[in-house]
């Protein structure tokens, strides 16, 4: 995914799927430019889904979510109409029509005897008919806990309320964010990046991280992702930090420290793994510029812009406070930096200059900030 062409193709593939479902017969290109409207979705405390119009940067509506807040991870249907939210301390999923806040789906993963947590792992099949989560169950016996096998759970999105998984497949421990390839496989962000076929549970490695074979001069990467994004270009990024040692003594002081990423083109399934820029400051999440796959943006205490081909930082700006997540409109015109507190900072990707701020009624904490391209 090194060219503008490929990222555009990725986006068109996703947009096309939405159009097929919505029954629109106009061409994909036309639809992308005229017949859809982009919304930014997030969750705020105490527990509300916020639907924000990216044209006005104002909240269009707020939908009450049942249960306690957490984690606020969001997955959207291909037609951009339904937002699925992880709620109630990382256990329940609720689906809302973002045009009227009507609840259309619910699933409680935990039972009286088994607590099931999902660590941000929420995605939909390309046709939107299935919802996938990674379940981390722990049995609650009268006098002890029993750790159980994590699994990919498959839910039928048309099944309404209190939906039970229709299939389950065993997966690794420590899986965080997931995403679906156009092929239907689900990318699993764990120790290594893997892909699972939700039809038969078959798993393949797509990008080694913990088990990479670079020899003793490279530190095992610390790969971690809390928030999902990348829908503006159809990508999945698993960022990591690693160190390249000067010699076999593994001296942390003299090593070169790097940010890196395994980046997946969700339309083709192509994966690239590379060190992007030297580690100078903490970045919690990254997005790629839709016009140039060599340009990435990152956010945490700073908002930064990097050329990963040149391994150069192009611009850095200090933020008003810590922000966990970042996203971008699919035309590449606006950067949104959010999470942690109760505001979304709006920036110009060219200069990183702050263009505005969206004040929210509550803290976003760990919530996602995702784009929904609503077909109209």
């Amino acid at each position: 995914m090194n060219t503008k062409k490929s990222t555009t193709r990725a986006w068109l593939a996703l947009a096309g799927l939405g159009l097929v479902l919505s029954g629109c017969h106009s061409s994909v290109k036309q639809a992308a430019s005229t017949a859809s409207h982009e919304y930014l979705l997030t969750v705020t405390r105490p527990n509300q889904l916020q639907v924000i119009d990216t044209e006005t940067n104002r909240i269009s509506r707020s939908c009450d979510i049942p249960g306690y807040f957490g984690s606020g991870s969001i997955a959207t249907s291909p037609n951009g109409r339904i937002a699925y939210v992880l709620s109630n301390k990382w256990e329940d999923i609720y689906g809302f029509d973002i045009t009227d806040c009507k609840m259309v789906f619910s699933a409680k993963q935990s039972t009286e005897k088994v607590t099931v947590k999902t660590f941000f792992s929420l995605t939909l099949s390309p046709d939107g008919k299935e919802l996938y989560t990674i379940q981390n169950p722990v049995g609650k016996l009268p006098d002890r806990y029993q750790v159980m096998q994590p699994q990919l759970a498959v839910f039928d999105t048309s099944a309404g309320f209190d939906v039970q998984p229709s299939r389950r497949w065993p997966v690794d421990r420590r899986i965080t964010k997931i995403a679906t390839l156009a092929s239907g496989e689900v990318v699993l962000g764990g120790a290594d990046l893997k892909a699972i076929d939700p039809q038969n549970g078959k798993v393949r490695v797509i990008s080694k991280l913990q088990n990479w074979e670079r020899g003793p001069r490279w530190l095992t990467p610390d790969a971690f992702a809390v928030s999902s994004q990348g829908e503006h270009v159809g990508e999945y990024i698993m960022p990591y930090v690693t160190a390249e040692f000067k010699d076999d003594s593994m001296n942390f002081e003299t090593a070169d420290w790097w940010w890196g990423m395994s980046r997946v083109d969700l339309s083709t399934g192509e994966v690239e793994q590379l060190e992007t820029v030297p580690f100078q400051f903490i970045v919690f999440s990254w997005v790629t510029d839709p016009h140039d796959a060599n340009i990435i943006y990152g956010a945490f205490n700073t908002l930064s812009k990097h050329d990963i081909k040149e391994k150069k930082t192009l611009a850095v700006t200090d933020m008003d406070h810590t922000y966990y997540t970042i996203n971008m409109t699919s035309d590449g015109g606006t950067l949104y930096v959010g999470g942690t507190s109760s505001d979304i900072s709006v920036h110009d990707p060219a200069t990183l200059e702050k263009k505005g701020s969206i004040q929210l009624p509550g803290d976003m904490s760990t919530a996602d900030m995702r784009l929904a391209r609503l077909q109209e």
């Binding site: 990382w90 607590t115 947590k117 660590f119 981390n136 722990v138 609650k140 009268p142 006098d143 002890r144 806990y145 029993q146 750790v147 421990r173 420590r174 965080t176 120790a191 913990q210 095992t220 990467p221 610390d222 790969a223 971690f224 205490n301 200090d318 933020m319 008003d320 406070h321 810590t322």
Partner: protein, 535 residues
């Protein structure tokens, strides 16, 4: 001499079981800890049928009183155990007595019980990244479990803190597999349920506590003190305390309190001294002649200091403190000796003369003392009657260096309408004379003891300077007590950060007109929202 016998406790329990719990519960006598376990805990904990380990999960662990206290608290607050506060205390006492740790098993880790948070640990690498990245080494080192129980502790962690495997130092490795297959077996080997030390302690005669004790310690903001603590037996290992004594400057000190002992040697007291609410967490030595530990503020556990209690019963002879513990060549000063069975004229070593005995009690002697101009720099043994204590008094020429203790410390922002109070930190200056080599900072330096100092703060490094930590992180008073800033984001600061900071605490001792200073490192950080008896 009392003995704690698990066997006899079980026998009593067995008898009561035969007699019928319902009948007993209706009787006037409150239930014993063992009976409460049988009645209230077996809703979840199964009876194993093994008389030596009768209940699942409970009988396969040994812990300190604080360890059991935390377990019981969790059972009530999270697992809906239906027991009253009074019953909880009964069960705590029973479990700490019958499934505690032997004195030798707590050695080296007592700071974990004494709530002294300013200690830099050096944990076994096998535990450093697995257990000690969240807990102190004392948290797990003060527990003894069967192998199966250590395994279940890993499972418990995953049930209670499901995101555990995603933490830094966990997510880059197969955390759960490492915990189960490597760390739990090592814990079972290093901290096994069955030990010779515990068997021996169960069989040993236990100390008695209803005596007079001479106590000596330090109260931040008040100073050094010594007192006599009268301990009166109230039955069931509970005691009433009366305390009367003096601060180092002669002001009187008095108060009273309550104490309880666990496991035959673990002394826990709540007392009020001069209106201050204080706690003692002490351990008696196996002979029962001395208790050592920490005295601290009930409402601010970080403000405290080590404390010693010397039994002052008939036949006890000891010197536990010399205040101050140093005298300059060619000077005359008062010195107080604290101990038990003090009789006769003290000898303070070569070149140090007792000019006059100002007061002579069996537990406390005040002396006017003079050191010769020519007295050699060095430590002196002290003799009082049949008592001889080595290296208790230092003769010095000048203060060559000052060490500020604790050298590494943490304070935490708090208050400001938030539910967690500020955590302060308190410092003392320790003076040293150069040894024979005439150079400070070498192995032969002579420790002179605590000295009065003046206190200032400065930025620890360049970043702290740029962020103006000195302005926001807090202030230090004339007693060396640091009070951190208010909690919450501060709009005045870069990124509206909290009033955190990275500071140096500077203590300056007046050495005959010249100032000798030392520095300690202080990190002012955010609140600790989850607090435990053993961190």
């Amino acid at each position: 001499m009392k003995q704690i016998s698990k066997k006899s406790a079980l026998l009593i329990g067995g008898f009561l079981a035969l007699a019928g719990n319902g009948t007993f519960a209706a009787a006037a006598q409150p239930m014993s800890g063992e009976q409460i376990i049988q009645q209230q805990c077996t809703a979840c904990h199964t009876k194993t049928g093994d008389a030596s380990k009768p209940y699942s999960r409970i009988s396969q662990q040994r812990k300190t009183p604080e360890g059991w206290q935390m377990t019981l608290h969790r059972m009530v607050s999270i697992h809906q155990a239906k027991i009253s506060d009074a019953e909880r205390k009964q069960v705590l006492k029973y479990l700490a007595d019958t499934q505690g740790l032997a004195p030798a098993e707590t050695a080296g880790l007592r700071y974990g019980l004494e709530r002294d948070g300013n200690l830099v640990e050096n944990n076994d690498p096998a535990y450093a990244e697995m257990c000690a990245r969240c807990h102190s080494g004392a948290r797990f080192g003060l527990q003894r479990r069967t192998r199966a129980e250590w395994d279940l502790l890993v499972q418990f962690h995953m049930g209670q803190i499901p995101t555990l495997e995603l933490h830094s130092l966990a997510r880059d490795r197969p955390w759960f597999e490492l915990a189960m297959n490597e760390v739990a077996p090592k814990l079972a080997e290093d901290f096994p349920f069955e030990t010779a030390a515990w068997k021996a302690w169960q069989a040993a005669d236990k100390p008695t506590f209803a005596h007079a004790w001479t106590i000596a310690g330090y109260i931040p903001g008040k100073g050094d003190f010594d007192a006599v603590m009268q301990v009166r037996d109230q039955g069931d290992d509970r005691y009433a305390l009366e305390i009367a004594g003096h601060y180092a400057d002669g002001r009187p000190l008095s108060g009273s309190g309550q104490a309880i002992t666990y496991t035959g040697y673990e002394w826990r007291a709540a007392l009020t001294l001069d209106g201050m609410k204080l706690r003692q967490i002490l351990a008696a030595n196996e002979q029962g002649t001395q208790m050592t530990g920490r005295l601290f503020m009930a409402g601010a556990n970080e403000l405290g200091a080590e404390m010693v209690a010397q039994r002052a019963a008939k036949g006890d002879h000891a010197v536990t403190r010399v205040m101050p513990s140093h005298i300059r060549q060619g000077t005359r000063q008062e010195i107080t000796l604290v101990g038990a069975g003090l009789q006769g004229t003290p000898e303070l070593g070569e070149g140090v003369r007792v000019i006059k005995t100002l007061s002579a009690g069996t537990n406390r002697m005040r002396l006017l003392v003079e050191a010769d101009k020519q007295a050699a720099v060095g430590l002196r043994d002290i003799r009082v009657g049949q008592i001889q204590v080595p290296a208790m008094l230092a003769v010095f020429d000048q203060v060559a260096r000052v060490e500020v203790v604790p050298g590494e410390s943490i304070a935490r922002v708090g208050g400001n309408g938030m539910p967690v109070a500020k955590v302060k930190s308190a410092y003392r200056a320790v003076g040293y004379a150069s040894g024979a080599d005439g150079k400070p900072g070498t192995a032969d330096d002579i420790r002179l003891g605590h000295m009065p100092a003046t206190w200032t703060l400065k930025a620890f490094d360049e970043t702290a300077e740029q962020d103006n930590d000195l302005k926001y992180a807090g202030t230090i008073d004339a007693n060396g007590i640091f009070t951190p800033g208010d909690a919450g984001p501060n709009p005045e600061r870069k990124m509206s950060t909290n009033n955190v900071g990275n500071l140096s605490v500077v203590g300056s001792v007046d050495d005959g007109g010249g100032q000798v200073s030392g520095e300690a490192h202080l990190l002012v950080t955010v609140q600790r929202f989850v607090r435990s008896s053993v961190q």
